[in-house]
């Protein structure tokens, strides 16, 4: 799952970046509105986290322009402006959620997860994948009650495939969605992650859960 953070405070970018990566998200971070707009229109993100008071181009303008282009990526506004008028304006311009600073990190994560569920139309945070259960809210996978020890990368792959259940996801797409845009990795990493993931799911059940479609990619049924 890939996020875009448009926030001008470098310290906040740093803290949030670390935290969200630990949560298993891939995240691109930019510090001004113009760059944010460019990233937003040219890349695919699951959620965009948007600050309002930005240099170059303010947050509401970025929002307006992205929506005008027809981008319906979920956008969560993160702002110090807390008046009702500000919240209403943001939501009316096309934002999907509005969180006021200072905020709780847990709340931010929960709201991001909600937007993801909405994106993949999976209202139930718990996904039953057969041998294993995936709780996208808590971001854990369990097998018969036991939590699987997954690395963030492994969890990301699992979640991406689970959310896109029934669809074949190419390696490139997987790689894009689980890595920051500026990380230079090749698709081998994805193969390694899938391999480790299968092992952790179970020697036999691993391949049953995460299936391969030769020449195309992976999928979960």
């Amino acid at each position: 799952m890939k996020l875009l953070l448009i926030e001008d405070s470098h310290r906040l970018r740093h803290a949030l970046g670390r935290g969200l990566r630990k949560m298993g998200y891939a995240i691109d971070m930019v510090g001004d509105g113009r760059e944010g707009f460019d990233y937003g229109r040219f890349n695919e993100y699951d959620v965009i986290i948007l600050d309002l008071m930005l240099p170059e181009m303010d947050g509401l303008t970025v929002l307006r322009k992205l929506r005008a282009l027809g981008k319906d990526t979920h956008i969560l506004i993160l702002s110090a402006k807390d008046r009702i008028e500000d919240r209403v304006e943001g939501l009316e311009l096309g934002a999907d959620d509005y969180l006021v600073k200072p905020f709780s990190f847990d709340e931010l994560c929960a709201r991001i997860a909600t937007l993801l569920r909405r994106r993949y139309q999976a209202k139930n945070p718990c996904l039953d994948l057969g041998p294993i259960m995936l709780d996208t809210a808590k971001r854990v996978a369990t097998r018969e009650g036991t939590t699987l020890e997954l690395t963030p990368g492994e969890y990301s792959v699992l979640e991406c495939l689970a959310m896109n259940r029934g669809r074949v996801i190419s390696k490139e797409r997987l790689q894009e969605s689980i890595h920051d845009s500026d990380s230079y990795v090749n698709t081998n990493v994805v193969e390694v992650l899938v391999c480790n993931l299968r092992k952790k799911i179970g020697a036999k059940s691993g391949k049953k859960v995460v299936k391969t479609r030769r020449g195309y990619g992976y999928y979960i049924e």
Partner: protein, 500 residues
């Protein structure tokens, strides 16, 4: 109301004046008739020998005839005039006296009554009450009757016309006084009906004027009502509205323009307040968010010592920034409320500049900004802590917003006051910016954290300068240099109060 009272008063006065004028003209006319009658009778008064002849027979019968005619007329209108109490008595009376008051002859109708006789030789007109109770008016004339030669042959002298002079008057010139009186009830009736007519007309006129005034005032007030409606509709949420007149109205134009200007200023004031509170919110909330998130993330994943160290470093920076903002806001609040106590000490400006520059070098170095300090020194009397804040803020501001690879120049001058001038290269700065540079939270770039400046710097400079009695001025000099000029009090000098 005032208008109506005024008009009413005018109408009343006009009515009274008119009525008085008419009355006096009519009375004068009446008097003229009286006088003519009297003169007529005078001609008929003659002295023959020791007798006075007053041959008024024709006059009397004329009067009686007229009286009969009138009575007939009145009988004809009996039904209506029955209870009016009009005069049944005579219309005209006369009385002829000797100088001494002895009556020579008088009208039959007088009965035992005498017409009043006033002393004096002139022609006198007076009001009188007639025997039948009616009001009348008389004329009194004193004259010497014409002397006729006694004519022994005339036989048609009526006895009643003749009067023998008392003995004392024999052989002497005799003066007689003739009084002729006429009933003036008709006259009075005429005047009453005139007064009544005037009164009724006046009231109608009043009513008409009141109506006209009402209507035209109503029309006149319509634009005012419209104006009032618009003004009432403007509230704190609709301050962008302006007032306009449906149709041009000269009396209101000035007021409309003035009001719209006021609304402009009020709207700007509100805007400034709103921006200020937004900016305070952001200024305090963003570092708090940084602190909170850093703590939460550090708490969740404490394993990586390098990452944790970095988080703590950021925490310190955020907290420091927050402290700066809070301190500045408190200082501003104190200046605003007038609660600040000011001390006075001698301060060397050169030393102060050097100290402050040392603190600013950390940020100046990456931008390769240098400083030109003044050669000489100036000593001023001021509050040392606050002056330090002022100078530090000015230098920090110059470093933060000045161009890279440029030079900050500091000059000290002695003129009418002691001048400290700090200038920096500032391409891209416009006169508009200079006008707003002291606004709270004003920053050229509308975001905040990018430069880690709070935007409060120059506004605190302005507030502190005001507190310490230091004049401060910002301007754009040639070569696009941003210049701040401080005018400081010397030792025990009087501060030059000068706003920017």
């Amino acid at each position: 109301m005032l208008l109506l009272s005024g008009v009413l008063l005018l109408l009343v006065i006009a009515g009274i004046a008119f009525w008085s004028i008419v009355r006096s003209r009519i009375v004068r006319e009446f008097d003229r008739v009286l006088e003519t009658e009297a003169r007529g009778l005078m001609v008929l008064t003659a002295r023959e020998g020791e007798q006075i002849e007053a041959d008024y027979g024709d006059w009397i019968s004329d009067v009686e005839e007229l009286q009969e005619d009138e009575n007939e007329d009145e009988e004809g209108d009996d039904d209506e005039d029955d209870d009016e109490g009009e005069d049944d008595g005579q219309e005209a009376f006369f009385e002829l006296f000797l100088e001494n008051g002895v009556v020579i002859r008088k009208s039959a109708g007088l009965g035992t009554m005498d017409l009043p006789r006033a002393p004096g030789e002139e022609v006198i007109f007076r009001d009188v009450t007639l025997p039948d109770g009616d009001r009348g008016r008389l004329v009194q004339v004193a004259f010497y009757p014409e002397v006729d030669e006694p004519d022994p042959e005339s036989t048609d002298k009526e006895p009643e016309n003749l009067f023998d002079l008392p003995a004392e008057f024999h052989g002497k010139k005799v003066k007689v006084v003739l009084v002729v009186a006429r009933d003036r009830e008709h006259l009075e009736e005429l005047l009453s009906s005139l007064a009544l007519t005037l009164g009724v007309l006046g009231l109608l006129l009043m009513g008409g004027i009141a109506l006209v005034i009402r209507v035209s005032l109503g029309r006149g007030f319509q634009p005012l009502d419209h104006f009032q409606e618009q003004v009432e509709a403007i509230g704190p949420d609709s301050l962008d509205q302006r007032v306009s007149l449906a149709a041009p109205a000269a009396e209101l134009d000035g007021a409309v323009v003035a009001l719209n200007d006021l609304l402009d200023r009020v709207e700007q004031g509100f805007e400034r307040e709103r921006r200020f509170s937004d900016d305070v919110a952001h200024e305090l909330r963003t570092p708090l968010a940084e602190v909170l998130t850093a703590c939460e993330v550090g708490e969740k994943w404490p394993e990586d010592p390098e990452a944790t160290r970095q988080l703590f470093e950021h925490l310190r920076e955020s907290a420091t920034h927050l402290r700066g903002v809070v301190t500045t806001l408190l200082e501003l609040a104190r200046c605003d409320s007038g609660n600040a106590t000011v001390s006075r000490e001698s301060i060397s400006l050169k030393t102060l500049l050097e100290d402050c520059w040392e603190r600013a070098t950390e940020r100046a170095r990456p931008k390769s900004i240098e400083i030109e300090l003044p050669d000489g020194d100036l000593v001023v009397e001021s509050d040392p802590d606050r002056l330090r804040i002022i100078v530090q803020n000015l230098l920090d501001n110059a470093v933060a917003h000045g161009d890279a690879n440029s030079v900050i120049r500091c000059e000290l001058r002695e003129g009418q006051s002691r001048i400290l001038e700090i200038s920096n290269a500032a391409t891209g700065m416009t006169p508009y910016d200079v006008r707003h540079v002291f606004d709270r939270f004003w920053q050229k770039d509308s975001s905040r954290t990018a430069s880690d400046q709070s935007g409060l710097g120059l506004s605190i400079v302005k507030a502190l300068c005001k507190l310490l009695g230091i004049g401060v001025l910002a301007e754009l000099a040639e070569g696009n240099r941003f210049v701040i000029i401080l005018a400081l009090p010397g030792e025990m000098g009087d501060p030059k109060q000068e706003g920017s």
